[in-house]
């Protein structure tokens, strides 16, 4: 299968440096002028947003922060969007993680977002951090029946019984929704196989762009929703901005990050169409431009 040789006149033999220059300048311009591309929640993201909208206030939501700083650029905006939505709807948040780095990912959410945007939120009532515990998929599976079996206390040493946010929670089934933001293993795949399938518990996920293709087959039977890469986060932010204008930051992190991405994708798609346009013109007997 021969994908790319064959002599073709001008536009096809375009010096690749024009492509490099165009891409560099467009991304630089996007970083300087920060264009905002309005987005709309897609088929995979809307179910997660609708689910949180439909939960009765006081129903706790579990967010598993299964990522490290190197994947934070793609996954942290998702955690921030879910946190904002839960706090606005009065749904107690419960952070835990299958990764050791999960603890400081939770701390970043507490200091960078909850403390600044929702100072009224009270630890223990509006959110609780259980933190990291080893065990990966075995830990997740064990929590189906009893959260307390593995987490005797929260990350600050308070016994679970004394935490109002988890007052009605025995096992994972008592959460309105379980979401795993996953950069690898153990992560969303283990949550699907060991919790979603086994426990019949409503499960949603967030993943990096590279990891996304492996999770699409799970939708919608084993995964009720999926935020894939920065675009998934931007779509959730778009839904938040539309339903809660004024109560959330005007331009949130993923939406701002999508500026250069959108510009770069437009440039690449543009050049692909240009190359094929030249090919069609040559094939239809027209002289090369």
């Amino acid at each position: 299968m021969n994908a790319s040789s064959g002599a073709e006149p001008f536009l096809e033999r375009l010096d690749r440096r024009w492509i490099f220059l165009t891409l560099a300048l467009s991304v630089i311009a996007a970083l300087l002028y920060e264009p905002v591309f309005p987005d709309r929640p897609g088929e995979l993201v809307r179910p997660i947003f609708d689910r949180l909208e439909s939960l009765a206030p006081g129903t706790p939501v579990l967010v598993s922060l299964d990522y490290s700083p190197s994947s934070a650029p793609e996954l942290e905006p998702m955690a921030e969007a879910l946190t904002r939505h839960a706090l606005l709807r009065g749904l107690p948040l419960c952070y835990l993680s299958l990764w050791p780095t999960g603890n400081n990912m939770a701390e970043r959410l507490e200091s960078d977002l909850i403390a600044t945007e929702h100072p009224e939120a009270v630890y223990g009532r509006d959110w609780v951090t259980l933190g990291f515990q080893a065990g990966g998929e075995l830990l997740a599976h064990a929590m189906i029946d009893s959260l307390g079996s593995r987490f005797l206390t929260d990350s600050r040493g308070t016994p679970l019984k004394e935490i109002p946010a988890l007052a009605h929670v025995v096992g994972l089934g008592d959460f309105g929704l379980v979401v795993s933001l996953s950069a690898g293993t153990p992560g969303l795949k283990e949550w699907v196989l060991y919790v979603g399938d086994a426990g019949g518990i409503p499960l949603a996920g967030g993943c990096t762009g590279v990891g996304a293709p492996q999770f699409f087959p799970y939708y919608p039977r084993q995964l009720m929703g999926l935020m894939a890469a920065l675009k998934g986060a931007a779509e959730y932010e778009a839904a938040l901005a539309r339903v809660y204008p004024g109560q959330v930051p005007e331009v949130m992190r993923a939406t701002r990050g999508m500026g250069p991405q959108a510009v770069a994708h437009l440039v690449i798609v543009g050049f692909i169409l240009l190359g094929n346009g030249a090919l069609l013109r040559r094939r239809s007997g027209g002289s090369a431009p």
Partner: protein, 265 residues
Amino acid sequence: MSPGLALLAAVTAALLLLIGRAIVLARRGAPVEVRPLAPVAAVADAIDSAVAAGRPVFFVPGSRDLDNMQTVAALSLLEQVARLCAEKGARLHVPVNRSMVMQMARSTCRAAFEAAGRGHAWRDDQVDYISDDPLGFVARVDGLVERERPGACFYFGFFASESLLLAEGGRHVGAVQVAGTASPVQLPFFVSSCDETLMGEELFAAGAKLSGDAALLGSLRGQDLGKRLAVALIVAGVALASLAQAGWAPAAAAWRVVSGLLAEV
């Protein structure tokens, strides 16, 4: 031994026997008619065009060590490429990024050149160790490619994001490029930048097809028998699961056992 492990042992044994038996039969003369593979034919043509243009041949055996089977497959291919280079008088350059790969590549190439009667034309430093760092390695190879302007570039073995960095470098100097890797994530980049690409399993079959060795061709038939086994298991499994879904009780019971077993592997 748990049932899941027993199933795994049975399937492993079945595959080892299928392939072993196919090798024995082929060595005893059973004919093996092989489907032609475009990238395999392209290897010899690429070396010819490099020799005609008086330009060197580059061979990169992946970016991982001897603990990766794709690296071992790449070194099998290196023996064939070295043999062709010796016969055609091509200047072979093999940049590597692991010391053990360097050592094995040197002895493999020297053996191939000596077998082709041109042992004197081989110098060990044609295989040069650059750095264990995959990106430091790629930065160096891209520089070498840009300056030595090889006529043919071969990238076989395991590659992470080095695939596109190498393939675009070689494309820029107009080299004929043949690649081969087993990682589904990197194949799109090789397919888009190289003239021919060995996809997944083909990396493990190309060495056999290039050598034409009876035993190796036998192993290809063994691989095909393995695929027929996979197809049979899939079709049977889907049939059983679908019957169970359609509500046929005995199928449902059997499917529960089978899916429970599969889950334990």
